[in-house]
């Protein structure tokens, strides 16, 4: 990252500018402050909300749902994706179907999840899983296809067993694509969980936001948005730190 200092400064300037504009619009009354509370008020509310144990509990609930859905969806999706990519027949049958399934907005299935799981933890995790698994499957098939035939031939010519080929050729070849996919999957996953919380739930930060919105509590609503943005960024950075560590090892 050459000239990274200048770039960092520019980024900070942009963020500060956005908050300043927000503050200005609200303070000057260009936008009705009841619709758009000022940035400083929102941040104060955020601070106050974070002191409440109920809010902290909601955040913990959401984070654990996101994590569990992710931990379940990634390996299951990866195995299915791998099976599809490696099996000609399976691939021809399943691929177009998956593309169709992927193109359908997942939110329309939410009522079914509520019917099956009821309202609660498993419904939200289930829906998060459902929102994530397709992108994991599709990314894994792409990753498998990114493995170079030449490399497989080399492994074969030196007598590699299937397990050795998987571990020493497939995995390292697929890693960059997989890690990128992991980050995108996390976005889908978080979206799914928050959506499920907002739609029907008794806890979780998504549920809180929906409630604040319905009650027209704009300060709380905006503070909630900031919280979720923070959660999203935290998870994203988490995956990215794994990514940089792996790419360091890879190249």
């Amino acid at each position: 990252m050459a000239g990274s200092l200048g770039i960092k400064v520019a980024r900070i300037v942009i963020v500060v500018a956005v908050f300043a504009a927000w503050e200005l619009l609200s303070r000057t009354g260009m936008v009705n402050p009841r619709l758009l509370p000022s940035a400083s008020d929102t941040l104060a509310t955020l601070w106050e909300l974070l002191q409440r144990s109920s809010v902290r509990n909601d955040l913990a609930v959401t984070a654990s749902e996101v994590l569990i859905a992710f931990i379940l969806a990634v390996p299951v999706g990866a195995v299915i994706g791998f099976a599809i990519a490696e099996n000609r027949y399976f691939a021809e049958v399943a691929k177009p179907l998956l593309f169709f399934a992927f193109s359908i907005p997942k939110s329309i299935f939410l009522p079914m999840f509520i019917l099956v799981f009821g309202v609660g933890f498993s419904q939200k995790v289930g829906f998060g899983f459902f929102s994530t698994i397709f992108i994991v499957i599709m990314s894994t098939t792409t990753a498998v296809e990114s493995v170079k035939v030449d490399h497989l031939t080399v492994a074969r010519s030196y007598g590699a067993t299937p397990l050795q080929t998987a571990w020493r050729v497939y995995l390292p070849s697929m890693l960059p694509v997989l890690l990128e996919a992991l980050r995108i999957s996390m976005i889908f996953n978080l979206t799914g969980v928050i959506l499920a919380e907002m739609y029907a739930s008794r806890d979780g930060i998504g549920h809180q936001i929906a409630t604040w919105g319905e009650n027209f509590q704009m300060k709380q609503l905006l503070a909630g948005v900031v919280m979720i943005a923070a959660i999203a960024m935290t998870f994203n950075e988490l995956v990215r730190s794994v990514e940089t560590r792996c790419s360091h090892w890879r190249t």
Binding site: T153, V154, S157, G159, A160, Q164, P172, R250
Partner: protein, 268 residues
């Protein structure tokens, strides 16, 4: 008397590495038609010889090499390496050097060279020592810690050759190993390969599209025709060794090159 199973396998005889190809054919069945890639190929390579395969594109040179490596089975005929068939790859008998980009980009040069040994579970220290020897042999001492993207094209192919040699197989098969290199590097690599070959006494089968390279390197050039691939000529190169740059402009060289070229032009 010891039970047979307990006898450790004999080391290959010093002059191992004979290749015998008898009436080999290869037919590819595709959904639309059967493609006869090779038809009735017979040839014999004596241990320690340097044989070059040339022929128009698509005549089946790579296919023939793949079969010698046990990577593909012939539809008919027999292939013997060290007097035994090769139903699957056997790195103890045959090392393969592929065209560019066959190195694993996520491994260092020495890890790439160690790869065949790692597959067999050779201990780390022994692996490292052997890889170092092999890298030294190809003139890459001190470059072991670099990744492929930090090496030039010629150096990458040296690593590939080191990887092919690290298990000390009597036979080395090379499919257009220098095709992606520039002319100068290619000439240098040719000399390097001849030096390595002289030092190790391997049997080499080498595929190329460059007729100059073919005559310059070979003891024997085998010329194949377009599909279905057959052997149309087999030339012994009488030029003395070591080969030198001056020979390229000599009469013998020109005559041999022309003879090969006429075959190729005819079938193309």
């Amino acid at each position: 008397m010891q039970p047979l199973a307990n006898i450790t396998p004999l080391k290959p005889a010093p002059r191992a590495g004979a290749i015998k190809v008898g009436n080999v054919g290869q037919v590819f069945k595709t959904s639309t038609q059967d493609v006869v890639a090779l038809s009735d190929i017979s040839l014999e390579v004596k241990p320690g010889r340097f044989v070059v395969l040339v022929g128009p594109s698509g005549c089946g040179k790579s296919t023939l090499l793949m079969m010698m490596a046990g990577l593909r089975q012939q539809t008919s005929g027999t292939i013997l390496i060290n007097d035994a068939p090769i139903p699957e790859p056997d790195p103890n008998r045959v090392g393969v050097v592929f065209q560019e980009a066959s190195l694993f980009p996520w491994l260092t040069a020495e890890e790439n060279v160690e790869f065949p040994l790692a597959l067999r579970g050779v201990a780390k220290a022994e692996r490292r020592a052997k890889a170092e020897d092999a890298l030294k042999l190809v003139g890459l001492e001190g470059f072991g810690k670099r990744h492929p993207h930090e090496l030039s094209g010629g150096m990458k192919q040296r690593v590939s050759i080191a990887r092919g040699l690290v298990q000390d197989p009597p036979v080395l098969l090379m499919d257009e190993p220098f095709a992606a290199l520039d002319e100068q590097t290619r000439m240098t690599m040719g000399d390097e390969l001849l030096r390595i070959w002289a030092a190790t006494g391997k049997t080499v089968v080498f595929v190329t599209h460059s007729l100059t390279e073919a005559v310059y390197l070979a003891d024997e050039v085998i010329v194949m025709s377009a599909r279905p691939g057959r052997i149309v000529d087999q030339l012994t190169i009488p030029l003395p060794r070591p080969r030198t740059y001056e020979m390229l402009s000599g009469d013998t060289f020109g005559t041999l090159r022309d003879r090969i070229w006429r075959h190729i032009r005819k079938s193309a």
